[in-house]
Symmetry: C2
Subunit: 197 residues, 2 copies
């Protein structure tokens, strides 16, 4: 007997295949095409495995960080990707994403829906050490892609090093050694004309 | 001071961006294009989060399964994807992948290179409960994509339900409830003319 519970779980797994179609603003390094949210989430998860030693608070639960980054963008299946320097898009981002979370996570059995919802909310609030580390990775990864594609998405109007650095501020206190790396990367990007000062 | 250790780690993170360019045989559900290994690995990791309750041995370390599926295909960056029903490709698969693993994982600091290597080897050997669960997901996910795309990759010459079922055999003992689901999915696929009996 296949349980209703399992049917729900597998319907959810099929539904989230759509994350592979949500394109981001970043460009992949070798093929120079828009990255999608599934690829981005995978990249963050492996980064968490490799970079955990740089979290300022070493009582951090890295398995939780990994779960968090794996699901952090799922709401974009319904809410779409909002470009981080798009001020207009940010006005109703929270509302759109909350609706999307309700719709998507509630496909799961209730206990799992609640767990997903609370993991996603924790990420969004950026307060726990796990959420801060996840947020740092989420901001650092597009920088790495930009740096290795001659600053592709930095060429747009209005993007300055000041704005880029401000978006990575969470790293300064929570992942200081990585913040040092980010500062150097931004400095070099300015020197190479890839990013406006 | 940015350490040599961190430089190596970040060079590795940049190098593995290439996994997003390794295309598989499976087709994504809504956009009907070839899936790549990064998307596939992400999908498996979320599946592990959702389906862990079905592992026959509930002492399973799901965080380890997740790490395993996140890195299980990295060797394909250098070795390429070998189609599971390609008998010729399988002849030298192990050798090609071992060389790729040496080359790729050794970009990391030695301790992390060794950890990655042993995690990948554990996956390949398919003996521990974590590796068996990871392998089950790795075989079940393409089935789900096929079932939801009218059996796209099953239309090729030589693919039969017998071969498909045989490839999922690991699930029978290790994840029996999921195996029951797989049997039903294969049965339905035959009935709907998506898969040769
Ligand atoms: Ca593979």
């Amino acid at each position: 007997m296949i349980s209703e519970r399992m049917e729900k779980q597998i319907d959810f797994i099929v539904a989230i295949d759509a994350l592979k179609d949500i394109t981001r603003q970043s460009i992949t390094i070798s093929s120079r095409r828009y990255e999608n949210d599934a690829e981005h989430s995978w990249h963050l998860a492996v980064m968490a495995m490799i970079l955990s030693e740089y979290a300022e608070d070493q009582t951090i639960d890295i398995a939780k960080v990994i779960s968090m980054v794996l699901i952090h963008d799922l709401v974009e299946i319904y809410a779409g990707d909002t470009y981080c320097y798009d001020e207009k898009g940010y006005e109703d981002k929270a509302e759109r994403e909350q609706e999307a979370a309700d719709r998507l996570f509630n496909m799961l059995p209730e206990d799992q829906a609640q767990k997903m919802m609370s993991l996603w909310e924790e990420f969004e609030e950026m307060e726990t050490k796990e959420a801060a580390f996840a947020a740092t990775l989420d901001r650092f990864q597009p920088l790495l892609l930009n740096y290795n594609t001659e600053g592709q998405t930095w060429q747009r109007p209005g993007v300055t090093s000041e704005k880029v650095l401000k978006r990575t501020e969470i790293a300064k206190e929570k992942v200081p050694q990585l913040y040092e790396y980010i500062e150097r990367l931004i400095q070099r990007s300015i020197e190479r004309g890839m990013l406006k000062p």
